[in-house]
């Protein structure tokens, strides 16, 4: 602080040395030092940002300093602006009683000087925006008239933003004449070297203060987007860099002029590009694979939040797979116990600050001062940084895993438990499901997590229930049949669930014999409900994972279901949604009971007929599980897919008996949660079994009308039992700045996260209303958001008939279209079977962001040219896979294309594709109808190459196993069903094409704009 004083000769020293710091950041926020990238630029402006009455020096003191300051301006300013006008209007003596208002505009002029720094540094004025920004009404009083070009472009974005609290306070009462001094000081200080040392000095924890990326430097043009200052003369338009992207659309909405270039429409052909600037600015935040906010700028007031029509929230994937070398560090606090805030229970994280020479720490979320336990004590160095910082990952990393002591257990940590509930009726054996499933389970026995504690058990059922005693002392499993479905009892409750390592031989013998035992079963009934109850009774001592293999509609006992998808009269009516929710309350009740006893359910459904996935999936939805659906399962076709996905389900690292909570700063609250889980209390997600493939979305609301803190912290905590038997807490911490400016929120928006929240909202909407309504809701939300953005920019720019959108949201319209065309929401009743819809809905509710985006806008790429190239190898997938727009015109009839949405691979053979390629790839079957051909590796280089490519595509994302479909151009209706319908940019049936969609959005945005 002392060094700073040296730089402000014009100021009264005592009042300035400390007060800006004392008053600007709320307690608990580290001194605003800056990341190394901001060195020398930000600090100088910081101390001045919150000019408030207390620190404003009296006018008399300030005056003397003025003349020299004014004279300095020209030097530090880019040449051009008519400088004399500034001193005269801005720095002149106060003009009478209205002086405070008149003078308000004066602070800006010096800012152009601060424009000069390179565009990479985080910019100063965020807090300026917060504390200094004037009410809109001041602007018209701007006495300067139309500013020169450099002037207009030099206006900081922060200045024109909506009124912030700080400034308003200072305006009316404070000793106004001090104002001129501020800016001029800034000019003086533009890039003062002395600052570098102090700003580098502070510890890294301190650098956590969010460097606001708004304002000037990162987006050179954006200062113009505010309806600020004075309307620019048209001749100066070149000075107005547009901060937004735009699409030129024809003047008359609806009439498609030839000039409309739809190839220039934005398309996410590079996949999901996450906004990186935010992550770079906050290196101690957890990685975006764990937590993605819908916008990294949190609005400071409810009124601002209500103008932000996009969702405000986050998508959390607590156990996302980390690449090699970035694993989450494991920490044991040992005897000191886990360091948490006494009041809000926040875990210690990189953003807490240590004070009182290391004896206390301040919680970053509730700013409570806590004691540091003796065992955890460490001295602070001169900058207030803990000496042992480098040895403490929890103080440097946004994601850590903490070993929980016994206080975090209500019972001894459970062993991993896998319980299988297998349908052995006629269709299950005939389709080969039983065989594939038992083989896969057997092959995975070695890889089940948690050896040697893992437990396993089986129940099979058709019209009766079959229990298997697999006690380790037996050599063969004993089968017990219970046929009384009304009054279920469990024979030998202790021996049905056995330790795998002890009973390994019995289990293997059982799995070998199971397909043979029911080989000629002709029973077509399914007593699913009673079987589920029995499984529940076996498992409710310990919990675990229940895998259900269901082949037909449950037909006997409690929970039997009706064929209800058949009635065409229901479709399109207000009752339609009832088909998409569980028919029988039995399922919801069972799901709730299972969650209560830590049972997570995964449903595998195989029938080619209606199986009421809506009801069965409910079990998975509320127990944090997932639904796998293989319509018309045939082991020859779907066997591989089931094998891979079941193996992944069994062997991936799973967190047992877990609960998740996300904490955030005062004034905001997570109000709704979306995904597959059950809420245990208002903000506690119960997740009996959770793994890396599950993500949860949540939405925020502001509880206070005004947030006064400059930043908001989020902390996700997942308390779980690891397969090894340790109780652990995974903690992800992130910080986001609070902003006063809507434009900044748009700039920091994250399309992926927004789309993820939207798709979940839309799917939830289909459970209570018509598909049309659900699609309209999404459309309206997008229209509102873009309209607000248009209004934000309309004042300053001549938008004409352009559709404008921020860079960060350029794919939002397309993804919105894709949501409307995704399986759960698409078209009318005939476009997808009810089961398909529901299964896809349950899947999409759990998908992490990247996977969802790929499903919404799948990749399409051409491979024939690459296959023909003799030398090209598969070194870099990116080179091969040049993604094409998803439109029929991307398909050339001489080519071979692969369509990949993460769940299916479709190989499309053009009609004129050279027969050589087809022959090489398909062997002798190349001329046959492709529905009967499966892709197999042939004895030639080309086929091997293709298979390697497919293998690589599959390995890229192991969470699902995309099945290969082959289709030839013109092979209707397969072609339409497999591919054409998923070319979402085209018009299919009643749906709109991308161009029409954009025009439609544009028209709606302009209405009432």
């Amino acid at each position: 602080m002392n060094t700073e004083n040296r730089n402000f000769p014009a100021r009264p020293p005592p009042s300035f040395s400390s007060s800006p710091f004392a008053s600007a950041p709320p307690p608990g926020v580290p001194p605003q030092s800056v990341g190394p990238e901001a060195v020398g630029f930000r600090p100088p402006t910081r101390p001045f940002t919150p000019p408030g009455p207390p620190m404003a020096p009296p006018a008399g003191v300030m005056r003397p300093g003025q003349p020299p300051l004014v004279s300095q301006i020209p030097g530090s300013r880019p040449p051009g602006p008519p400088l004399p006008s500034f001193p005269s209007t801005a720095y002149g003596p106060p003009g009478g009683g209205g002086g405070s208002f008149q003078r308000f505009p004066t602070p800006p002029p010096p800012f152009p000087a601060t424009q000069n720094p390179p565009p990479s540094g985080p910019s100063p004025p965020q807090t300026l925006a917060g504390h200094l920004s004037p009410p809109m009404s001041f602007r018209p009083q701007q006495p300067m008239g139309p500013p020169p070009p450099s002037m207009t472009s030099g206006l900081p974005g922060g200045f024109a933003s909506p009124p912030g609290p700080g400034f308003q306070q200072s305006m009316p009462g404070g000793p106004q004449p001090s104002y001129p001094g501020y800016p001029s000081n800034q000019v003086l200080q533009g890039p003062p070297k002395p600052f570098q040392s102090p700003s580098q000095g502070p510890p890294s924890a301190v650098s956590s203060y969010p460097s606001q990326t708004g304002g000037f430097s990162q987006h050179p043009g954006q200062q113009n987007m505010h309806p600020s200052y004075a309307p620019p003369p048209t001749s100066n338009v070149q000075g107005l860099v547009e901060d937004f992207n735009s699409l030129s659309l024809s003047n008359i909405p609806g009439s498609l002029e030839p000039g409309l270039d739809h190839t220039s429409f934005p398309r996410p052909l590079d996949g999901d590009v996450e906004p990186s600037s935010f992550a770079e600015a906050h290196p101690m935040n957890c990685h975006s694979r764990y937590l993605r906010l819908t916008t990294s700028a949190i609005p400071n007031s409810q009124s601002l939040a209500s103008r932000w029509h996009l969702p405000l929230g986050a998508v959390v994937c607590p156990l996302a797979e980390a690449p090699e070398g970035e694993e989450v560090p494991l920490i044991d606090f040992g005897s000191s116990g886990i360091i948490r805030c006494r009041r809000c229970r926040t875990y210690v994280n990189p953003y807490v600050t240590f004070t009182d020479s290391g004896r206390k720490w301040r919680c970053n979320i509730c700013s409570m001062l806590n004691d540091v336990p003796g065992e955890y004590f460490s001295h602070l160095d001169a900058t207030g940084r803990r000496m042992d910082m480098d040895q403490r990952p929890e103080l440097t990393k946004g994601s850590v895993e903490i070993i929980a002591p016994t206080e975090y257990m209500v019972r001894p940590p459970m062993p991993p438990i896998y319980f299988f509930l297998i349908d052995v009726s006629f269709s299950a054996t005939k389709s080969g499901m039983l065989e594939v499933a038992t083989q896969t389970i057997k092959s995975c026995l070695d890889n089940l997590p948690g050896y040697p504690r893992t437990q396993i058990g089986f129940i099979t059922y058709d019209s009766t229930l079959h229990f298997y005693n697999m006690k380790s002392s037996l050599s063969q499993p004993q089968m017990m049949v219970v046929s009384d479905l009304d009054d279920i009892f469990v024979p030998l409750p202790d021996d049905l669930l056995v330790n795998l390592s002890e009973s390994r031989n019995v289990v293997e013998a059982f799995l070998d014999s199971l397909p043979l035992m029911f080989h000629d079963n002709v029973n077509v009934e399914s007593a699913f409900g009673p079987a589920l109850k029995a499984a529940y009774m076996v498992m409710n001592q310990l919990g675990g994972k229940l895998l259900i293999f269901q082949n037909s509609l449950p037909s006997l006992g409690v929970g039997r279901l009706k064929l209800r998808g058949d009635d065409p009269r229901v479709y399109g009516t207000d009752k339609e949604y009832t088909l998409r929710v569980a028919e029988d309350t039995f399922y919801k009740q069972m799901a709730a009971d299972c969650t209560k006893f830590q049972i997570g359910i995964n449903v595998y459904a195989f029938s080619d007929k209606y199986t009421d996935i809506a009801s069965l999936g409910t079990l998975a939805k509320y127990t944090g599980g997932q639904v796998y659906y293989y319509p018309g399962f045939q082991s020859s076709i779907h066997g591989d897919k089931l094998r891979h996905e079941l193996a992944r389900d069994l062997t991936r690292e799973t967190a047992w008996e877990s609960v998740m909570r996300i904490r955030c700063g005062k004034g905001i609250r997570f109000s709704s949660y979306h995904g597959n889980f059950m809420l245990r209390s208002t903000d506690l997600l119960a997740l009996p079994a959770v793994d890396c493939d599950k993500a949860y979305a949540m939405q925020l609301t502001l509880e206070e009308t005004l947030l006064t803190t400059p930043t908001v912290y989020f902390q996700v905590a997942l308390l779980y039992t690891a397969s090894c038997g340790e109780r652990r807490i995974r903690v992800h911490t992130a910080v986001a700045p609070v902003v006063t400016d809507l434009g900044e929120m748009y700039r920091q928006a994250d399309t992926g996260s927004i789309v993820s929240v939207y798709s979940r909202l839309a799917i939830e909407k289909t459970l209570s209303s018509k598909l049309d309504d659900a699609r309209n809701v999404i459309q309206q939300k997008i229209v509102k958001a873009l309209r607000e953005y248009r209004n934000l920019n309309a004042v300053q720019h001549r938008l004409g008939s352009r559709l404008i959108y921020p860079e960060s949201l350029k794919f939002l319209p397309l993804y919105g279209l894709a949501i409307g065309k995704s399986t759960p929401l698409q078209g009318g009743p005939a476009d997808a079977s009810l089961d398909d819809r529901c299964a896809a809905g349950f899947t999409m509710m759990a998908l992490p962001v990247k996977k969802l985006l790929k499903l919404l806008y799948p990749s399409l790429f051409r491979v024939d040219e690459w296959l023909l190239k003799p030398s090209a190898d598969l070194d870099d997938l990116k080179d091969v896979v040049r993604r094409l727009p998803l439109a029929a015109e991307s398909l050339d009839s001489r080519g071979l294309y692969i369509y990949d949405d993460g769940f299916r691979l479709v190989l499309w053979f053009g009609r004129m594709l050279s027969p050589d390629i087809a022959k090489n790839l398909l062997g002798s079957d190349f001329a046959a109808e492709l529905s009967r051909v499966t892709l197999q590796e042939q004895e030639n280089g080309m086929s091997k190459k293709l298979m390697r490519l497919i293998k690589k595509v599959r390995e890229n994302d192991p969470s699902y196993h995309p099945m290969c479909f082959l289709v030839r151009q013109g092979e209707q209706p397969r072609e339409g069903f497999l591919l054409l319908r998923h070319l979402i940019e085209d018009q299919m049936g009643g749906s709109t094409s991308y161009v029409d969609w954009i025009l439609q959005l544009h028209r709606q945005i302009q209405q009432n704009a």
Binding site: K596, L679, T682
Partner: protein
């Protein structure tokens, strides 16, 4: 007149029971919000009471109709209809898996019902006192006749 007294005593008991039941449900919901109760307990507690409440309220309404108390019948009719509608749509029970999504509505509904039952209760108490007084004066009259 003794019948009338009897009617009002029954109505008194029923409306008191209704008030108590709804009050208990409100308490359960607030407990749930404050995290003193988990959704499983809350929904069992509340769902156990829902049908008895509907039946009691319905029978009270019927009783008013049969005894030709138009005013009281019309007052309680809307609630009976609403209950019947909920029951027909199978939405009368609290959904344990989605308690928190509907908790605001459920609370508001129960607060409204609580207010309604309390006013009904007050009216009934008023009529009860009236009829008690009447029956007493009537006795007095009879007494005086002799």
């Amino acid at each position: 007149m003794a019948w009338d007294l009897f009617l009002w005593i029954i109505s008194f008991v029923i409306s008191l029971a209704l008030v108590a039941s709804v009050f208990y449900q409100v308490i359960c919901l607030t407990d749930l919000e404050a995290d003193h109760m988990n959704p499983f307990e809350t929904s069992t507690c509340i769902n156990r009471l829902v049908l008895p409440e509907f039946i009691l309220q319905g029978s009270l309404c019927l009783l008013f109709l049969l005894t030709w108390h138009w005013f009281f019948f019309l007052v309680s009719l809307p609630v009976t209809c609403y209950h019947a509608m909920l029951y027909n749509k199978r939405r009368h029970l609290i959904d344990v898996t989605e308690v928190f999504r509907g908790i605001d509505f459920e609370k508001k509904l129960r607060f409204t019902k609580l207010g309604f039952y309390i006013s009904l209760f007050i009216l009934v108490v008023f009529r009860l006192t009236l009829s008690v007084v009447y029956s007493l004066t009537e006795d007095d009259d009879l007494f005086h006749l002799f």
